[in-house]
C-alpha cells in the first residue's frame, strides 16, 4: 500500500493518542507521508470521527438513528443536556465530558443507545442516562 494512502490511518492513531487532532500533528503526519497539506486537512475535516478541537475525557454519544429515535432518543439528549449543562456538540468547561449526537451505531435492537467511550449502553431511559454519564 503506497505510504501516502495511509494518511487516514495515521490521523486515526493521532486522534486516539491525543483525544483530538492537533493541527501541528496533522501537518507533521502530512509531511512524513508525502501528502499535500490540503489533502490532509480535507481528510481531517471530512470524517466525522475527527475533532480538530480538544474534547472531554469522556465522550458520550447518543444515537439518533431511526430505531433509537422511535424509542425516545430525543428525550435522552435533552436529559443529558440538562444534567451536563451543555448542548449537544459541546464539551463541559472542565473538559470532563463531551456530548455528541450520532447517527446509528448499529445496536438497534436495544434502542435507545448511548455509547460512552467504547462501552455501549442499551434501553437507556432519560433517568438512566444521567447515571450512565456519572
Amino acid at each position: 500500500m503506497p505510504e501516502h494512502a495511509t494518511i487516514l490511518q495515521a490521523l486515526q492513531d493521532l486522534h486516539e493518542e491525543h483525544g483530538y487532532l492537533p493541527i501541528g500533528e496533522v501537518k507533521k503526519a502530512a509531511e512524513r507521508l508525502g501528502v499535500p497539506l490540503s489533502q490532509a486537512f480535507s481528510v481531517a475535516t471530512f470524517y466525522k470521527a475527527f475533532s480538530l478541537v480538544p474534547r472531554g475525557k469522556k465522550i458520550v454519544k447518543v444515537c439518533l438513528g431511526t430505531a433509537c429515535h422511535v424509542r425516545g432518543a430525543r428525550e435522552l439528549v435533552e436529559a443529558l443536556e440538562r444534567a451536563l449543562k451543555i448542548r449537544a456538540g459541546e464539551t463541559t468547561p472542565d473538559r470532563a465530558v463531551t456530548l455528541e449526537v450520532v447517527k446509528c451505531v448499529g445496536a438497534c435492537a436495544i434502542a435507545p443507545v448511548v455509547v460512552v467511550g467504547k462501552r455501549t449502553y442499551g434501553n437507556v431511559s432519560p433517568q438512566g442516562a444521567a447515571e450512565v454519564v456519572g
Binding site: 486515526q12 431511526t66 430505531a67 448499529g106 438497534c108 435492537a109 436495544i110 434502542a111 467504547k118
Partner: protein, 450 residues
C-alpha cells in the same frame, strides 16, 4: 457475546456461569444468535434449552438447575406473547422455527474468538475441498448456479461480478469486504462479522481463489469496535494456521487480508467512496464506469462484496449451487438476514428465505378477515425436490388455492350486494396476481439473464 448482549451485561453473566459450572461443563461465549430483545441468552447443549434475560445473579441458578438434571428455570424460558406458553427448546420457539439460519446458524455454537471452534463446527473444510477438487471457474459456476446476489441491497449477481474480475488481465487483483453498514436499523453485517468472522474469511479466501485475487481489505465502520477486534483476531489466527499468506493449505494460492477502520462517514458504504477512503482521500463518490472490477482500489481490478454476501460463499459451496438455489425464488437463491427493530415484540435479527411473499399475502389481516385461512386440496407431503424443512413447505403442499366467501342467495337482492362483491374482489387481487405472475409476459419465468 455480541454488542447487544454485552450492553445488557453478558460479560458478567459469562463469568458467573463459568464459576457456577466449574469443571462440570464447558461454558463458552458465543456469537450473536439474533433474539436481541431477550438477551442475554444462555443456551445448553445437548438439550437445546434456551434461557432468556439471564443476569449475573440468576446465571448460577440456571447452570446449577440444568447441570443437576432438574431442567431449565421456568421463569427464564421464552414466553410466547400470543399463546402465553413457555417454550424450553430454542428450535421450538416460533421466532427461530420459522427461520432458515444458513448464515447465522453457527453463531450460537461457536466462540468467535476461537478458530478451533469454527474448525470443529466444520469450518474451512469447504475451503480444503474446493482447493483440492475444484477449479476457479468451477467455483464461479457453482456461485452462478446458486443464484447468489449481493446482500448489500443492490442485489447484483455475484457470479457475474466475479467473472468480470476474473477476465481482467491486470494484476494484482483485490477483494473488498464492505462492513460500513450505515443504514439506521441495520446491524446484520455487524453481527455476522462479530459472531462468525471466520465464515467471512473463508468466503473471501474462496473468492480470491475464484477471481485470482491476492489481497483483500475488510472495511469496518469505526462504530463497530467489537467487529473490528474480532475480525483482526480471526485474521491473525488464520495466518498462524496457514489459511492466509503464501501457499494456502499447500495450494498455489497466495492471499492475505487486513482490516481498515472507517472514520464516521456514512457515504463510505458506497463502493467508490470506500475506495477513496482507503486511498487516503475524503470519501467522495465518483462516476462509473470504470467499475471497480476493471479499475478499483489503487487502480487494480477489485471485487467488492457485502459481508453477508461473503458469508454466504462457503454455504453455497458446501451445499452446492443447485441446493442453495432451491431456497429462495427463481431469481434469488438463499436467505437474507433482516433486522427487526422499533415497536416490534421481538426485536432482533432473522434469517429467512428470499421471497416469502405468498405467506405475507395470505396472512395479511385483511385477507384473513375476508377469506379465513387459505383452502384447497393439499398433498400429504412436500413435493419431490423440496426439503420437508423448506420454509414454504406448507404452501408447497397446495394443489389448489381456494379463497372464497359464501354469500347467501337472498343477499343478491340486497342493495349492499354490489358493494360487498367489489370489496371481496379487491381483497383477492393480491392472491390472483401472485398466482398469475409466472404466466405473465416478462415475468420471472422468462430467463433474461445468464
Amino acid at each position: 457475546m455480541g454488542t447487544g448482549c454485552r450492553a445488557a451485561g453478558a460479560e458478567d453473566v459469562l463469568s458467573a456461569a463459568r464459576e457456577a459450572a466449574g469443571d462440570r461443563a464447558v461454558v463458552r461465549g458465543t456469537g450473536c444468535r439474533g433474539l436481541c430483545e431477550k438477551g442475554p441468552l444462555v443456551s445448553a447443549e445437548p438439550s437445546g434449552v434456551l434461557s432468556c434475560g439471564v443476569s449475573p445473579k440468576n446465571a448460577r441458578t440456571v447452570v446449577d438447575s440444568i447441570l443437576s438434571g432438574r431442567g431449565p428455570v421456568e421463569a427464564l424460558l421464552y414466553r410466547d406473547a400470543r399463546t402465553k406458553k413457555r417454550i424450553a427448546v430454542e428450535d421450538d420457539i416460533p421466532f427461530y422455527a420459522r427461520q432458515t439460519r444458513l448464515v447465522l446458524g453457527m453463531n450460537g455454537r461457536i466462540d468467535p474468538e476461537s478458530i478451533d471452534d469454527y474448525i470443529d463446527a466444520g469450518g474451512y473444510a469447504e475451503l480444503r475441498r474446493t482447493l483440492a477438487k475444484r477449479t476457479p471457474e468451477e467455483v464461479i459456476d457453482e456461485v452462478l448456479r446458486a443464484r447468489l446476489r449481493g446482500r448489500g441491497g443492490a442485489g447484483f449477481p455475484t457470479a457475474v461480478k466475479w467473472r468480470a474480475c476474473r477476465k481482467q488481465e491486470a494484476s494484482p487483483k483485490m477483494l473488498l469486504g464492505n462492513c460500513d453498514e450505515g443504514d439506521p436499523g441495520a446491524y446484520m453485517d455487524r453481527s455476522i462479522l462479530e459472531g462468525n468472522p471466520h465464515l467471512v474469511l473463508e468466503g473471501m479466501i474462496l473468492g480470491a481463489y475464484a477471481v485470482g485475487a491476492s489481497e483483500a481489505i475488510i472495511y469496518v465502520r469505526d462504530e463497530y469496535p467489537l467487529a473490528l477486534a474480532n475480525a483482526e483476531r480471526a485474521i491473525r489466527q488464520a495466518r498462524e494456521r496457514g489459511l492466509l499468506g503464501k501457499g494456502i493449505l499447500g495450494a498455489a494460492l497466495d492471499f492475505d487480508v487486513r482490516v481498515f477502520r472507517g472514520s464516521g462517514a456514512f457515504v463510505c458504504g458506497e463502493e467508490t467512496a470506500m475506495i477513496a477512503s482507503i486511498e487516503g482521500r475524503p470519501g467522495e463518490p465518483v462516476d462509473r464506469p470504470p467499475y471497480p472490477v476493471e479499475r478499483g482500489l489503487f487502480g487494480r481490478p477489485t471485487v467488492i462484496n457485502n459481508i453477508e454476501t461473503w458469508a454466504n460463499v462457503p454455504v453455497v459451496l458446501a451445499r452446492g449451487g443447485e441446493a442453495f438455489a432451491r431456497i429462495g425464488t427463481e431469481r434469488s437463491g438463499g436467505t437474507k438476514v433482516f433486522s427487526l427493530v422499533g415497536q416490534v415484540a421481538n426485536t432482533g435479527l432473522v434469517e429467512v428465505a428470499m421471497g416469502t411473499s405468498l405467506r405475507t399475502i395470505v396472512e395479511a389481516p385483511a385477507f384473513r378477515k375476508t377469506f379465513g385461512p387459505l383452502e384447497g386440496e393439499r398433498l400429504q407431503r412436500v413435493p419431490r425436490g423440496f426439503s420437508k424443512d423448506h420454509p414454504a413447505a406448507e404452501f408447497l403442499k397446495y394443489r389448489q388455492f381456494l379463497a372464497g366467501v359464501e354469500l347467501p342467495a337472498s343477499f343478491a337482492s340486497d342493495p349492499r350486494f354490489y358493494g360487498r362483491l367489489l370489496e371481496v374482489f379487491r381483497r383477492v387481487i393480491p392472491l390472483a396476481r401472485f398466482l398469475n405472475e409466472p404466466l405473465l409476459k416478462g415475468g420471472p419465468w422468462r430467463q433474461t439473464e445468464t
